[in-house]
């Protein structure tokens, strides 16, 4: 079921599967535009993006994508309520200064949101910390603590607790291994938190 024919990362391909064709989509932290271009070309979405790095923005605009230079922490407030059918935060949540506020903004500006992140509760990370006494460096957490832009790591359970506290609900979930292969696990279970290297959640507001 995993499509990697287009050279797109497996986690992005899985995430793309959750996107409705033709939707109005904002990808926050869209990087070089790989996912956005894929969604535009394969799903016919109205693709918009926000990216912090100017290099990324230039790459996106040069591909004909509509992307603004901006910061998820400070610039989402400009968008009106429910401006998008879907807001995507792919592998970016852990790099924000205030993940709770960013998630709140996602829920405000999007009818629904898709969030993916590396799971800090993964056994490899736990073992790394427990046995070596050092901050984990794993396939999904590849950088040393002093050079990582990821300042707010969380586990899948941490994320679920925050989602609950913000009054959001999980509509869809996918637990992935380090290679982006989907694991058939209940996202709320202990096993997902332990052997899931990354997770993708689709969120909606309660009620």
């Amino acid at each position: 079921m995993i499509q990697t024919l287009d050279g797109i990362r497996r986690d992005l391909s899985l995430l793309a599967d959750m996107v409705e064709p033709g939707a109005r989509v904002l990808d926050i932290g869209c990087g070089d535009g790989t996912l956005l271009a894929y969604l535009r070309d394969r799903k016919g979405v109205d693709a918009r993006g926000m990216e912090l790095s100017m290099d990324g923005v230039r790459d996106c605009v040069a591909q004909g994508l509509s992307v603004v230079q901006g910061d998820a922490d400070s610039d989402l407030k400009d968008y009106p309520d429910q401006a998008f059918d879907l807001v995507i935060l792919s592998q970016t949540l852990q790099a924000t200064r205030a993940p709770d506020k960013v998630l709140g903004q996602l829920a405000r500006i999007g009818q629904s949101a898709i969030v993916s992140f590396p799971n800090f509760g993964h056994w490899r990370a736990i073992l790394h910390l427990a046995l070596r006494g050092r901050m984990p460096v794993t396939p999904t957490i590849p950088l040393e603590w002093y050079e990582t832009p990821n300042i707010h790591f969380c586990t899948i359970r941490d994320f679920l607790a925050l989602v609950d506290r913000l009054g959001l609900s999980i509509v869809d979930a996918a637990i992935l291994d380090a290679q982006g292969q989907r694991l058939k696990l209940d996202a709320h279970g202990c096993l997902a938190n332990l052997i899931g290297a990354q997770a993708i959640f689709r969120l909606a507001r309660n009620g």
Partner: protein, 400 residues
């Protein structure tokens, strides 16, 4: 200071010699100006490049900056220099005249053939001088819209311009959202800042302090306020550059001498360069036009002009935007472009925003900046696909 003596080509004779196209709007095509006056008749001088497609959907309007003109992609008839955006506009260029029909007109109030203070006041038979009504950026754009009507074009594929040109682009998108598919304001702002008004005032005062200015009625006297206009240009030119660019180009190098003169000659290369810029400018530009056009920029304030916050001005606009700024531009800094972008986001607009890394100052938009070219090319390519998809379903007209 000493400026080299005068110029062989007087500005007045330059106008009459201007080649290219022009259209005169007669009494059936009045232009109501923001100041309350009605201008009639008036002329808009323009140049077009490329061929208008049978469906008239390949037109791009390029808006020039303060001291630019319609000669965007060809040798300038007065200076003999290349067109001001020849790197960008031409066959096979980013704005490809093999495919697009490119229009560039001299703005209202200008001095390269469009009606401005140097034109003849029909009431007196003499040049307008300061009796010419003060014109605004929206006035310029209204006149451009009349030109576009005249050319039989209902919707422009794109409107593109830098600096004062960016102001016109924003006004186009705000005033005629259904006549513009894509808008690219480059190195611009939604209103002129206090600092920029201040610089313009310095320039105007330099012109008006020149005895040859004669209250603006110098045309018949044979004297032209060249010294004042040259000083205005010198001061303004510094604001178009950057400390880094000036240092790189000139440093403290001396001009044609081994040591300091202990006088007020142009000891330094940078002085000599500025004096040259001043001299060259007065050959092609009318001092009164300089007053009027700088005033138009000062008055520009989209929020005030439209009587609502910026985001409301563009609420639900169908226009696709690509906002571009340059990191080394301190005259129209990135903060101004970001302000526009924030408002466009709030308005739900389709917008891209890029800050190009460059230390060349405000003038970077006129220079060969590969990243900038790449961005504009990508934006136009993306817009073209959407424009083609819209195709036959396009709805036309709908002037606000």
């Amino acid at each position: 200071m000493s400026l080299e003596p005068a110029l062989s080509t007087s500005p007045a004779s330059a106008t009459r010699a201007v080649p290219g196209q022009w259209v005169e709007f007669g009494s059936d095509k009045l232009l109501r100006l923001d100041c309350g006056a009605v201008l009639t008749p008036f002329t808009i001088a323009y140049r077009t490049y490329g061929t208008l497609a049978p469906d008239r959907r390949n037109a791009i309007l390029v808006c020039h900056a303060l001291t630019g003109d319609q000669f965007v992609a060809e040798t300038h008839p007065v200076t003999g220099k290349p067109g001001w955006w020849e790197d960008m506009v031409g066959p096979g260029r980013i704005i490809d005249t093999d495919r697009f029909f490119v229009i560039c007109c001299n703005v209202l109030g200008g001095c390269m053939g469009s009606t401005g203070p140097r034109a003849t006041n029909p009431a007196t038979g003499k040049p307008w001088g300061l009796d010419f009504p003060v014109t605004t950026i929206p006035d310029m754009v209204r006149a451009q819209a009349m030109l576009i009507d005249h050319l039989g074009i209902e919707r422009l594929f794109a409107v593109i311009g830098g600096s004062m040109g960016a102001m016109q682009v924003l006004e186009w998108a705000a005033r005629y959202p259904n006549r513009v598919f894509a808008a690219c304001p480059i190195a611009g702002a939604s209103r002129h800042t206090a600092q920029n008004i201040a610089f313009h005032e310095v320039g105007r005062q330099a012109v008006m302090a020149d005895p040859d200015w004669q209250g603006g009625h110098y045309y018949a006297t044979g004297a032209v306020p060249e010294r004042g206009l040259a000083v205005a240009r010198m001061a303004a030119h510094v604001t178009y550059l950057s400390e880094a660019a000036l240092h790189r180009k000139f440093g403290r190098e001396l001009q044609d001498r081994q040591g300091l003169s202990f006088g007020f000659e142009a000891d330094f290369q940078v002085e000599s360069y500025l004096r040259h810029q001043g001299r060259a400018f007065v050959q092609r530009f009318d001092a009164n036009s300089y007053l009027y056009l700088t005033r138009a920029m000062d008055y520009f304030d989209l929020e005030r002009d439209h009587g609502k916050p910026l985001a409301e001005v563009f609420r639900d606009t169908p226009v696709r935007f690509c906002v571009v700024s340059f990191s080394g531009d301190w005259l129209f800094p990135t903060t101004e472009s970001r302000r526009i972008t924030h408002a466009l986001n709030a308005a739900g607009a389709n917008v891209s925003f890029v800050e190009i890394q460059s230390d060349k100052g405000h003038d970077a938009f006129l220079l060969d900046e590969p990243e900038f070219f790449r961005v504009l090319q990508g934006f136009l390519a993306g817009a073209e696909i959407a424009w083609a998809a819209e195709g036959a379903t396009a709805t036309a007209g709908g002037d606000a």
